[in-house]
């Protein structure tokens, strides 16, 4: 089983990203389960959501404590939250930011990937200038980092679930798929 934890802020589409990814993975033949950290969501407040995938039926119905990978939709969260809590060694940390941070100390033992999802979202006019919706770009970059699910499945999930601007969202996912930068295991 693979467990992925998503950190974002209310309004970025974090929970929607896990739902769309669940649908995309399901299309590709995986068993899936996705859910938000059960709280009282507000715009701008930290949000957590989870995705489980497996080849067989998923029975466990608890929160995710030791994720295989972590996705961060808003890099300012790194200042207030330790996104590596419980993260398994050599798991991916995918962060929405223009370039890798200068100081990689806090990411040792993990693999780091960065994608400028905010820039991609703005270019595709997703959300507003102050509130870009970055989730579909992040989905595309995650598909590249993990090698799954297929971009075809992601496009289909977007087309089915997002009634507004499906084309721009698919374009954002495809651009992010190409542009994500992957660093191997970060060493101290």
């Amino acid at each position: 089983m693979v467990e992925i934890r998503f950190h974002g802020r209310g309004g970025q589409g974090t929970v929607m990203a896990t739902i769309l990814l669940a649908k995309a993975f399901f299309r590709d033949g995986y068993q899936v389960q996705s859910f938000p950290l059960f709280g009282v969501e507000r715009r701008g407040a930290p949000v957590e959501a989870y995705l489980r995938l497996d080849q067989t039926e998923i029975l466990i119905r608890t929160n995710v404590y030791t994720p295989d990978h972590v996705v961060v939709l808003d890099q300012t969260l790194l200042e207030s939250i330790d996104v590596t809590v419980g993260l398994k060694k050599s798991g991916w940390i995918l962060i929405n930011r223009p370039s890798p941070p200068a100081n990689l100390d806090s990411f040792s033992d993990y693999r780091l990937a960065v994608v400028d999802a905010t820039h991609i979202a703005l270019k595709n006019r997703l959300g507003t200038r102050t509130q870009p919706i970055v989730n579909t770009a992040v989905m595309g970059s995650l598909a590249r980092v993990l090698g799954i699910p297929s971009m075809g499945a992601i496009s289909e999930a977007i087309r089915e679930e997002i009634p507004r601007q499906p084309k721009a969202n698919i374009k954002a996912a495809e651009t992010a798929y190409k542009e994500v930068q992957m660093l191997e295991v970060v060493e101290r």
């Binding site: 739902i19 669940a22 059960f38 929160n63």
Partner: protein, 392 residues
């Protein structure tokens, strides 16, 4: 067709497929997604039903009591404080023998204000004459909601379908949504045995003096007994059309089990995994899922636990001054059964605290090590708190 569906929407899809005719509800977290989707279906014509927005949960049920009395298929959904506000009318719905179906998202009672999973809300309504069913995953929620209408209409009693807040209501997972034709075969249109009818005027729910009231109560109990029998027949029919059955109880590896864990709701699903892993280590453990709480399946419980040396009930609920509520029911079911296993009662996961695999495994080991139950209930994973009240 199998699709990735939220637990709440599994309820909505089932109500759509059941062709409910009147839906009345008042929003409350974490139930809101259920009626949100249904109101959309009513607005866009997907479901030919009247959706009534009301000013409180009390009114939501009152409206359905009126609607059901006129002989239509009715549905509502609520949670926690909302269910508590319905209390008076819960009695009314069963006493009037109305087959109303309700989805109840199990959420903790306030204060402290808490929107998370806890079964005390619905279990506190156990004596209101509603049939109560507890589900463990999205598929069971969908199937059970469809079945609830059939069951309710067969015995003329209201049915409450319970699902854990968030762990089920807000979780997306693959669910098979059957086609309308198959559901229509299983669930024909509602034919009321009695109804408000202009052509045949009559009055319902009039004064019932001592010479008839007791018989009316006994009739409700007879309907509960009938529900136990009918559930099995109904599930057979459901299985023949839709290929699935869930059971009033389900025994998993209980035949040779020395210790049987007894669970309800989503804890069952996680416990399946725990039991499988403990079995791999050679532990003789079984799992008994209780889905049907009212009527309580006493005989099934006796049979399935007969050969165990201990049973351990995990309750995500509590009756103050007593113990876990499922544990009470299990003890009551077994007490007149000679040689029954001792019943251990564990309280876990109140107010949405996670019941992890470690918690469940710990309960197993605690039970195995113990020679006899020491407390009415043992609280698992309690933090150090200041318990002093009135002791300065």
């Amino acid at each position: 067709m199998r699709q990735v569906l939220e637990g709440s929407h599994a309820v909505s899809e089932a109500v759509r497929l059941a062709r409910a005719q009147v839906i009345s509800a008042y929003p409350i977290t974490p139930q809101t997604h259920i009626v949100e989707q249904l109101s959309e279906y009513c607005a866009n014509g997907t479901l030919d039903a009247r959706f009534l927005r009301v000013e409180s949960e009390h009114s939501a049920l009152a409206a359905l009591i009126g609607a059901a009395s006129s002989g239509v298929r009715t549905f509502t959904a609520t949670s926690s404080q909302g269910l508590a506000l319905m209390h008076e009318l819960l009695h009314w719905a069963s006493g009037a023998r109305l087959p109303i179906v309700m989805a109840e998202v199990n959420r903790a009672m306030a204060p402290g204000w808490n929107i998370w999973a806890d079964q005390t809300d619905s279990l506190a309504q156990r004596d209101t004459g509603w049939i109560q069913l507890y589900c463990e995953n999205g598929q069971e929620v969908l199937d059970t909601t469809i079945q609830a209408f059939r069951l309710a209409e067969w015995v003329n009693l209201p049915v409450m379908v319970n699902l854990d807040a968030f762990f089920l209501s807000h979780t997306y997972e693959p669910v098979d949504v059957p086609d309308q034709k198959s559901v229509d075969r299983f669930l024909p249109p509602y034919k009321p045995r009695f109804q408000l009818d202009l052509a045949n005027p009559c009055a319902f729910n009039q004064l019932a003096p001592p010479n008839i009231y007791m018989e009316m109560r006994h009739n409700i109990q007879m309907a509960m007994d009938e529900a136990l029998t009918f559930l099995e027949q109904m599930e057979e029919e459901f299985e023949s059309i839709l290929g699935r059955r869930h059971g009033a109880v389900e025994a998993i590896q209980c035949d040779d089990a020395e210790i049987i864990l007894i669970t309800s709701g989503t804890v069952t699903s996680t416990s399946r995994q725990v039991v499988a892993e403990l079995r791999e280590k050679g532990e003789k453990v079984g799992l008994l899922k209780i889905k049907l709480f009212r009527p309580f399946p006493v005989n099934m419980l006796r049979e399935r636990t007969a050969s165990a040396s201990k049973v351990a009930v995990i309750d995500r609920n509590f009756s103050f001054g007593a113990s876990g509520i499922f544990a009470q029911e299990v003890k009551a079911a077994l007490c007149n059964f000679p040689g029954h296993p001792p019943v251990y009662s564990y309280i876990a996961g109140l107010g949405g605290r996670d019941i992890t695999m470690e918690v469940i495994e710990n309960i197993y080991w605690l039970t195995k090590k113990s020679t006899a139950p020491e407390n009415e209930s043992s609280w698992v994973g309690l933090r150090e708190v200041d318990h002093a009240v009135g002791q300065s």
